[in-house]
Amino acid sequence: MEWVNVVVQGVLLGGLYALFAAGLSLIFGVMRLVNIAHGDLIVVAAYMGYFATHLLGIGPFASLIVILPAVAVIGYVLQRALLNWTLGEELPPLLVTLGLSVIIQNALLILFTADSRKLDGGAIEVASWRLVADLSIGVLPVVQFATAVAVIGGLQLLFYRTALGRAFRATSDDQTVAQLMGIETRHVFALAMALSLVVVAIAGVFIAVLKSFNPFAGPLLLIFGFEAIIIGGLGSLWGTLAGGVLLGVAQTVGSQINVAWPIIAGHVVLLAVLLVRPQGLFPKVSG
């Protein structure tokens, strides 16, 4: 039963990784930009949650009402003012977002010191449902996984059922033709970045309730998102969810064997997938 519990925990944790990954692959898909500062922006959202809860006296999940519009604006402005100017070649977006990552980490360090912080989720953190005699699952992980599935389902709907989704897919397929069809790509890119940050901010608040964070927590979160994408296979949202779940399970199983192993267990799964099935487990385009 202990192992069932470990796997269930991993699955539920994987939902968060899938959200990190969805935000990352959304912008890569739309504008071929890999955002090295992705993890640091997640941490920014976590700090916003920390200060929203402390200044406004609301719970972390209620604070999303404030955080989500704020990160959307940040994403939109960041894209229009800076990142749009880097697009086109491979090197500039990587190097500019790398610079951004260093700037954000050090700015957070100056503003908030290196102290680790954690969001207080309240009663929900310890609440759990008992399924059978030896197996009970926490309410928070279930809520967090359900949120992840809902967000990914929502993204799926947005991509395939709305005008904005059509614009995303069109620019992803061929930017020039999309532009000829009257899509203002710079605006679309900025919307994609705003949406990406909204998705990861949700995950950021959850992870900040789950684990403590500091100004340098971002890079590892970026790596988790990246691993979920590669394990799941590029271009498929549900594949990304599966990738995130697999990564989560690898980490919890790893830490069950040895408390120091969760991170390396995730890396090993990634390397194994690259070795055996480099296109990922559930790629959208096979072959």
Binding site: F28, R32, L33, V34, I36, L82, W85, T86, E90, L91, P92, P93, L94, L95, V96, L98, G99, L100, V102, I103, N106, A107, L109, I110, P219, L222, I223, F226, E227, I229, I230, N258, A260, W261, I263, I264, H267, V268, L270, L271, L274, L275, P278
Partner: protein
Amino acid sequence: MSATTTRTRTVFHVSHTDRSSRIGLAFCSVLLVVLASAPFWGDRQVMRVLTEVYCYVALASLWNLLAGYAGLVSIGQQAFVGLGGYTLFLWSLRTGMNPIYSIPIAGILAAILAVPIVLLLFRLRGAYFTIGSWVIAEVMQQIFLQVDAVGGGSGISLPAAVVKSIAATRDGREFLIYWIILGLVVLVIGLIVVLLRARWGLALTAIRDNELAAISNGIDVNRVRLVVFVVAAFGAAMIGAMIFLQRLTITPVSGFSINDWTVNVIFITVIGGIGRVEGPVIGTVIYFLLRALFADLGSIYLIILGVVAIAVMLKAPHGLWGLVADRYGWQVFPLARRLERRTVEVAAPTELSAPLLE
């Protein structure tokens, strides 16, 4: 007796040197002599800064070869720096040999390990290659953190006896290490210049300028990239060995530090000029000047560095050296390829040429 007449013929010749590269090389030679004699005119502090400069010049030159020429944007070079440091420590501890001997071993070991690593990373395209290279470095850091046989989280230090086996006196050791690092920088830059002047260089420059066109001209891009990745690992590991030989202690955190061994190196290359051999040298000088001016500011200094790197990337994508080189056509190293038409006098013996035609 043969009555030879001379006639002129036009031949084509690929010229690498020009006036600026002649001046540049002369300047470099003088500079090298001055730097090599530093132990005789500089104090300990000067030599310490200079060795640090050399290490960054070498690391940045290697990263430039990877990213600027071969299009392999790795942010995992700390994997090889740390590996080199650990190889030197472990090898000299286990064998009790002079640590200096393990420098080439560090390089060779990293080069061998680089082959399977890069073959695995080739499965990731473009930007995902970049993050993949980082994950490899993270895996190495985790391994060295977890395995007690290589020191675990607290790392390893070189005992005094091993250090003394380098040379008997402190001055002797410091001079020797200084000259070895200077030699390594000359080796790295020399290797890159030779590589770029050879056929390989033409292939690399072609890949840098247009990958698709390079492939369609028959360049085996992956093979070129494999060789470059292995060369970069070889160099980074030897430099890593020297860096930690000076520090006398290595931990997984210091050995595999992405900020120290890759991010700063990238900033240096971007600011100096990516895709130019001179760029990393210029970038390192600027980096150390900025550091001397702003290092007291701590985190703010790193923010300034990030802002400068972003500004240069957007406004001068070929870096500060690129601005100068594009404007005046300067080059320090004779790398350009200019087709020259030359008339040469050829001896043309008339009696001989007549029968040959029959």
